[in-house]
Structure formats: C-alpha cells, structure tokens
Amino acid sequence: MHGYVRPGNSQPIWLFPFIASVVVVLSVLPLMRLAVTGIAAFADGGAIEVLFDRTLWSATYFTLVTAIIGTLVSLAIGSLFAFLLTLTDMPARGALSFLFVLPMMIPPQVTALAWVQMSGPSSPLLKALHIAPPLGSPQPLYSVGGIALLYGVQHAPLVYLALRAGLMNVPRDGMEAARLSGASALRTFRDIVLPLALPGMIAGAAIAFVSCIGNFGIPAILGIPASIYTLSTLVFTKFAAFTDRTFGEVAVLSGVIALISVAGLAVQERALGGRDYRILGQSGAAACLPVGRWRFVFLPVLAILLFFMLVAPFLALLAGSLVPAYGVPLTVETLSFHAFEEVLLRQAITRTAFANSLFLAAVTAIGLLVLSVLAGYLLTRRRDAASRMVASLIEIPYALPGIVVAVAFILVFAAPLPVFNVTLYGTIWIILVAYFASFFAVSLKPVVSAYRQLDPALEEAARLAGAGFLTRLRDIMIPLVAPAAGASVILVFLIACNELTVSALLWSAGTQTLGVVIYNLDDSGGSDLASALSVLVVLMVVAMMLLLEAMAKHLPKGAVPWRS
C-alpha cells in the first residue's frame, strides 16, 4: 500500500545508512587499515626490528616522562583555578576564567614559539628589558623539563574544565548542611567538596595526559633541536626520511601511541562512570564560599600565573615579530613592521597557507555542520545499539592523537582510489578528509545537546501538521538548533584553522596550512616571520572565542567547551 512505513520510526530510511557509511569512511576504514598494516609489519618481521630499535624506546620514555610531568603541572594549575573560580566569590571570575582557558585554543607550536621568544639568551623581550642571560648560555626550554612545563600550561585548562564541571555539582546546601553538622570550612572541603570533585579531577588529568601524548607542536619546536624525540615527533621524522619500510614502522609507532592514549581514556571513562555521584534533589544555587581577605592573596597569585602563562609569552611573541631578525634587541630604532608586511603581502608561501587553512577550515566547518545536523537527529531519535556504536565511532578519531589519524589516512589514501583512479595523497583533499574525521565529534557535540533539549512534541506537532522529514527539518528542527549549530561552525573553524599535527604529516608543496608554515618558518630560522604569523593567529583565536562568548547565552549548556 502506498505511503505506509515500517512502524515506530520517524527517520527516513536513507538516514541511518548514510550516516553509517560516512562513519565507515571517516573512522572504520582508516583504523582498520592502520591495524592491518601494523599486523602485516609484524608478520614480515619489520616490526620486530622497530620494537628492538632504541629510538622507539627512548621516544616512548620521553613521551611518558614529559606527559606525566606535564599532567602533574596541569593538575596543579588547573585545580587551583578551578577551586578558586568555581567555589568562591573571587572578583572578576568570568574574565579570569576566559583568560585561563585561552591557552587551550592557541596552537601548541605558537605557545612553544612564544615561550622560546620569552626565555633564553636571544629573547627580544628580555633584551629590550636588559635582563637576557649572556649569549652562549643554553635555551632552558630545549629540554624534557621545558616540554613538560609547556604541556602543563597548554593542558591546564582541560583539567580546569573537567574539574569545574564536577564542582558545579557541589550544591551550596550540601556544604551548608556540613557546616551545620559542625564541620569546619577545611573539614567541609575535605569531606564534602573533595570526594565530589575527585572524579572530575581524575578525568581532567586523564584528558590532559592523552593530549600530552598526542601533542606534536611543542616537542617539535622544543625537542627536535635538543634531539629529544617523543613518539609523535619520531613518526614525523620517519616520514621525512622515507623508505619502503616507513609505512610498517609508523603503523607500529602509531599503535604504541594509540595504546597509551586508550589507556588514558580508559582511566577517564572509569573516573567519570564508576563514581557517579548523582546529586540528589534540585539544588538551585551552586556553592559559593566567601574568600574575604584571602582574595588579597589569591588574586595576585592567579594574576601572576596568568601573566606568565599568557601575557608574557604573547608580549615576547609580539616583540619577536617586531624586530628585523632573531636576536636583535627591540628598541624604538629597531622596531619594524617588516615581518607583518612580509607575511601578509609579500611571501607567497604564507598567502598560500592562509588560503589553504581558511579553505580547509571553512569547508570542514560547513560540511561537518550538515553531517552533524543529520547525525545529531539520528543519534537523539534512535537509541539502539547501532546508533550508540555510530556515536562511539565518531568519537574515536577525535579522542586519538592527530598523528595517529594522519598516519591512518596516509595508509588508506597513499594508493590511488579504486574505480576513480585518483590519488588523494599529496593533495589538499586528504587533509580535508582527515579534518572531517578528527573534528566530527567537536562539531556534533553542541548540535546533539541542542537536539536533546528540544521537546520531542515540537517535532510531533509538525508531523501531525503534515510535514515530511525534510520539511520539518527545514522549518522546525534547523531553526531551533541554529544557535548551537552556529557555535559548532565557529568552534570547528577555529580548531581546524590552527591545526598542525594532522597537516604536518599530510601536507605537500602547495598544500601547506598555517600551522605547517609557522613551524617551517621557525625551523628554517625565520622566527620573526613565524612570530608575526603567530601573533595574527592568536588575535584570530581570541576574536573567535570572544564571538562565541557573546553567543553563549543563546546556546544550550555544554555547547561552548570552556563554559559550563
């Protein structure tokens, strides 16, 4: 009979197969290929050699050591900020919070570059202030400690956000009840706040750890000059010295990275899942302790930390971009905008990079928006095992370090595509596909939370009004999830525009991204140009974050990652 459908389903029949096949291309295929190549490498003995190679083990050692120290630094800074800015009535909490999460969105190679400009004998900033160490003294950041410290700074916001989400759940009345039961403020903190905060703290530390493992920009700039290789920089150098064994080797290396990351993610999962203190009852106000006179201690401490994490590096970067060459002190005479002029107007390579990054970011953001609107609908309407599977498959490439994703996509697309007989490797399209895989989860999250908040009756009313799937999608659903979709577009654009890790492996002549060019310029001694480009990138990041901040009150909870 015409017009009848299989019962119990509001989605058109094409929707699930469509989303499922997208997920197969973006997640299943690359990961399978990576696994198969790794296993094949074992089978023909090449991998055994890799496993007995000293560089692998020293890289694993450096990766773990820097990641562990970095995580501890993140935990210390992130917890301090989270407790003070969430539980107390510190002044200027909103602004402090915004500034504190900024480093998270700034590309790691820019952070590294800024810190290099801020310290060491050639720092234009220190020279201008006449406090630079004597020439010939070593750059202290080119060390395990330097890498770990920057990891700590870069990923402290991750701990902050995870912990903050947990602390928001600490109800004020719960703390008041503890005080009335006779507990002192310190005792209340220990007995009530800490147990509730612990899962968030562990989860935050685990995310920070995984991000350290996958970080490429920081060890590339700080580690390679000192011959300290982490797993991700080792993969990068293996590709630079390409042999017929490279694929097998990098597949094994990526496997090691993936294993360490999965272990970290499992810890996070357990921390959040195992200890679910669902807060009972509806508690209106979040906890808010008066800091009183202590603010004269806390506020300067936070301000000094922020100064060294954010302001000083940026000033150093700015100074570095305003001197004619690296090592020249910044004075009124030497100040020049030459580097900005070069970067924006003269250098073909930076213009290409701008064009590439903007193109990739725009297409990724808009393409993923379309996918997210459809996938978000599917995942919220259809709650069966298959859709949960699709949801986790979308998460995997985002959770895995970018370097692993990049290797997986090289393995899939190095050979010409069957049927079409074109090779994606070496073109900008392979970067685009890898971006789609890496950032699908970023794009999906705000859209899914918007769908979750929609009253299902709104769609049902449209169905009774006679609207078919595409009609009600256009007239009802899309307008209602539009604010969240807008946030998702800006967020993906922001992240994709500054991306380095994936494109560092996938670029070739003519397809450099901004991240790659910043790294290459610095690597080849053009640190003034790299600094100028970095300054522009930082300004762009701040502008887009401010835009999202302005949109925040129209967005569903959880749409903007640094607000809770």
Binding site: G3, V5, G8, E460, A462, L464, G466, A467, D475
Partner: protein, 343 residues
C-alpha cells in the same frame, strides 16, 4: 470523517508488562471520548498510537475503512490528517502565533491569501486575533493553549487528539478552557479523543468516557452511566469518591439496592458458603441523623460548601458522607443509605 476503531490493540515496550493490553474501542463520528485513568495506565500510549507516533505491537487501528496501523505497517502521522493539542502545547518558539497556526496549511500548499483568511478565522474562534504577531514566549499559559487549539482548527482534521491539555493550567483557567473545548467540539463536529487523569474534566467535557487501568480498558460508557453504574471494583473506586462495602448480598438481588435491603444486610453475617459482594455507596447517598444504623465519626474535613465525613460502621467498614453541620470526631451518629450499587 469516519468512525475511529481500535481492534484488540496492544503495545509492549519490552519492559515485561505491556503498556497497553488488548484495548478495543469504537469512537463514533463526532464523538468526544475521554480516556480516563491514573498516570501510567497506558492512556497516553493509546493516544500516541492513534496519532501514529507509536505503532501497536498487536491489533489494528482503523479510521472508517482505512487501516491506520497494524504491527506490520503504519501510516506515518504526517499522512493521517489528525491534529493534536500537546500537554506542553508544542508551539514552535521561532514562529509567530499566526505562523504557528498556519503551518499545517503551509505544508499542505494552501495559497497565501486563503491561508491568511483561515488563520484569522481560527484565531477569532479562540479570541486571539489581536495576538497574531506575537511569539509564543510572550503569551500566558492559557493563551498558548488556545494557540495550540487554533492550530487544530485551521485544517479540518478527521480526529483531534488532546493529551492532558489542562494539566499545566491553574484552576480558574481550566474552567474557561473546558468551555472553549466544548464550544470547539460543537462547532467543528470533529471526533475528539481526550486523555486526562482528572475525572471532573472528563465528566464535564466528554460524551463518552473510557476508563483504563494498568494497560487495560475497564469500561466505556457515557459519564452519567459510568457514575451511576460502574462495572467492577476498580472503576467504582476510580470514579467519584464512594466507599466500597463488603456485604452479603444475595445473588438474586437487583444491583441497585434501596435502604430496606441495605439495612437488613448491614447487620447480617456472611451467608454460609456464600460470597461477599462489593457494594458502592456514594457519599451523597448517605444521610446523617434520623433512624438508621449506628456509626462513629472518624474525621470530618471542612471543604467550604460542606463537611466531608469519614465514618466507621459497627462492623469496622468505612463509609463517606457529606454534612452541612460539623460532626465531631468520636461522636456516634445514625446513618441511612438511600441508594447503593453492587459492583
């Protein structure tokens, strides 16, 4: 328009107990059926199956000759020509009142002029013509309710479904909206199915009441019939505020009992080998004072227009009554039961 028929409809969500179990129901053309029952009894699931949001796991739903749904196939809601007032009203927040009301017409491809005219008519009917350009967020609860109703009015739906539409309104607005619904039903002549847990709402509005409990249909009848002659203990206790006595009624006795018969039964013990029958006694049929059986006042609650009295009979059974004067708890009074109904 045609008769809405539910034929042995069941719905099992896989929770162990079916949410709806073998419900058969005819809603006559132009009828106003209230689905009444406590929350969780499956009445909303029945409504959602009629709308097409859920498909029956057994049985079939017809509109006249046309099959709407059976376990194998289902006509999607967008093709059923039905309309619904949701408990949350389900107004689209990004559209104006006029756009909300006109959306079913827009989807059907009705031209702009005709659309404008019909929107105006519908808004006039619910007395909201002045607010056509407002957003739903700017309206009060009662106004939103009326917009939702107007959205049902613009098309000529075969069936109008109402899912506890008054649950979110205060008492004063409820009475006003009941009036609006009755008017709407008379004017449109549409078949209406109204889900509610509030029996006074059901009594006031419906031409027929279907009482449900635990997924099953207990009785379908007119409000008067269901109040005077409920079938079974469940319906008797769900409808009205009567007390149920266990009395040794002879099997041959008529179901409607008068005082002479009741008086004789009150003192009597259970017949040998016989069974006790459930007898429903409405509080308005209990008279206090005069000659009658002795009862002790357990409590008396002031309700404004009268006292609601709970009484303990000599054999320990409970009875409810109304009284103009205030009987003191602990007092002994004599009661007469003018009428009772064997369930």
């Amino acid at each position: 328009m045609a008769k809405l028929i539910l034929n042995h409809v069941s719905k099992d969500f896989g929770t162990g107990r079916p949410a709806v179990n073998g419900v058969s129901l005819d809603v006559r053309e132009g009828g106003f059926l209230a689905l009444l029952g406590p929350s969780g009894c499956g009445k909303t699931t029945v409504l959602r199956m009629i709308a097409g949001f859920e498909a029956p796991s057994d049985g079939a739903i017809f509109l006249g000759e046309r099959l709407l749904a059976d376990p194998a196939q289902s006509l999607p809601p967008e093709r059923r020509n039905m309309a619904m007032v949701f408990q949350s009203y389900a107004l689209w927040p990004h559209m104006s009142v006029a756009d909300n009301v006109g959306y079913p017409l827009k989807v059907r491809g009705v031209s702009k002029d005709v659309r404008r005219r019909r929107i105006c008519e519908a808004l006039d009917t619910v007395r909201l013509a002045d607010l056509a350009d407002r957003r739903p967020a700017e309206l009060s609860g009662g106004q939103r309710q009326r917009v939702a109703l107007a959205r049902c009015l613009v098309t000529q739906p075969d069936v109008v479904l109402l899912d506890e539409p008054l649950a979110n309104l205060d008492r004063h607005l409820r009475q006003e909206m009941e009036e609006t619904f009755r008017e709407f039903h008379q004017r449109s002549g549409a078949t209406m199915v109204y889900v509610t847990h509030d029996q006074s709402e059901a009594m006031a509005l419906a031409t027929d009441i279907a009482v449900m409990s635990r997924g099953e249909l207990l009785q379908v009848a007119s409000p008067q019939e269901i109040y005077a002659r409920p079938e079974g203990r469940l319906v008797g206790s769900l409808i009205g505020r009567g007390a149920i006595l266990s009395l040794a009624v002879p099997a041959a006795a008529p179901r409607k009992l008068e005082w002479d018969a009741i008086c004789a039964l009150l003192g009597a013990s259970a017949p040998d080998g016989g069974v006790l029958a459930d007898v429903l006694v409405r509080p308005e049929d209990v008279r206090l004072g005069g000659e009658g059986a002795a009862a002790r006042v357990r409590s008396s609650l002031y309700e404004g227009e009268r006292y609601s009295v709970t009484l303990d009979l000599a054999d320990g059974q409970t009875l409810r009554a109304f009284s103009r004067e205030r009987p003191m708890p602990g007092d002994t009074v004599s009661v007469t039961i003018t009428s009772a109904w064997r369930l």
